[in-house]
């Protein structure tokens, strides 16, 4: 059973690593933003999964904060790039 959970967590962590690699390597700035945005979304799912792993419901609140606020930074950079801020 624990092996299955480790498999799930490792799959998610591999996704985070690939997104961070794109954020480090991306040729243009939007590429980096896409990488960080993907990292945020995958991290939310991993946080919820880890709160199930630790068996603490209150840890889901951090994931909730990221789900609510994670897009505002991306929106700010996007509005800068279309000269809108």
């Amino acid at each position: 059973m624990t092996a299955l959970w480790l498999l799930f967590l490792s799959l998610g962590a591999a996704g985070v690593a690939l997104c961070l690699a794109r954020a480090a390597a991306g040729p243009t700035t939007p590429d980096r933003v896409v990488g960080v945005d993907g990292t945020v979304t995958i991290s939310i799912a991993l946080m919820v999964l880890l709160s199930s792993f630790f068996d603490r419901q209150i840890y889901m609140d951090v994931a909730l904060v990221y789900a609510v606020l994670g897009f505002i930074g991306v929106l700010a950079v996007a509005r800068y790039m279309e000269r809108g801020v």
Partner: protein, 78 residues
């Protein structure tokens, strides 16, 4: 435990990237990545209060304030 070590190294790399980028918008994105990884680290070390504060401030407010400051000065570092 190994995840914590890997995340710390990734955070160091992101911080160094924020130092070396000439394009300041890319540096802001690197700062956002540092904040995200710090929040995940606090979460893994079982400090949800600190992780939540880092998430609430680092996700939106600092990025936007940096972006407005760059808008008022200039995008590329000389």
């Amino acid at each position: 435990m190994i995840y914590i070590a890997i995340l710390t190294v990734a955070m160091l790399i992101a911080g160094l990237a924020a130092y070396f980028f000439r394009d300041l918008i890319a540096a802001v994105v690197a700062c956002a990545a540092v904040s995200l990884i710090a929040s995940v680290l606090f979460y893994l070390l079982q400090a949800p209060d600190v992780a939540m504060a880092e998430a609430a401030i680092g996700a939106g407010l600092t990025t936007a304030i940096f972006v407005i400051a760059i808008r008022k000065t200039g995008r590329y570092e000389k």
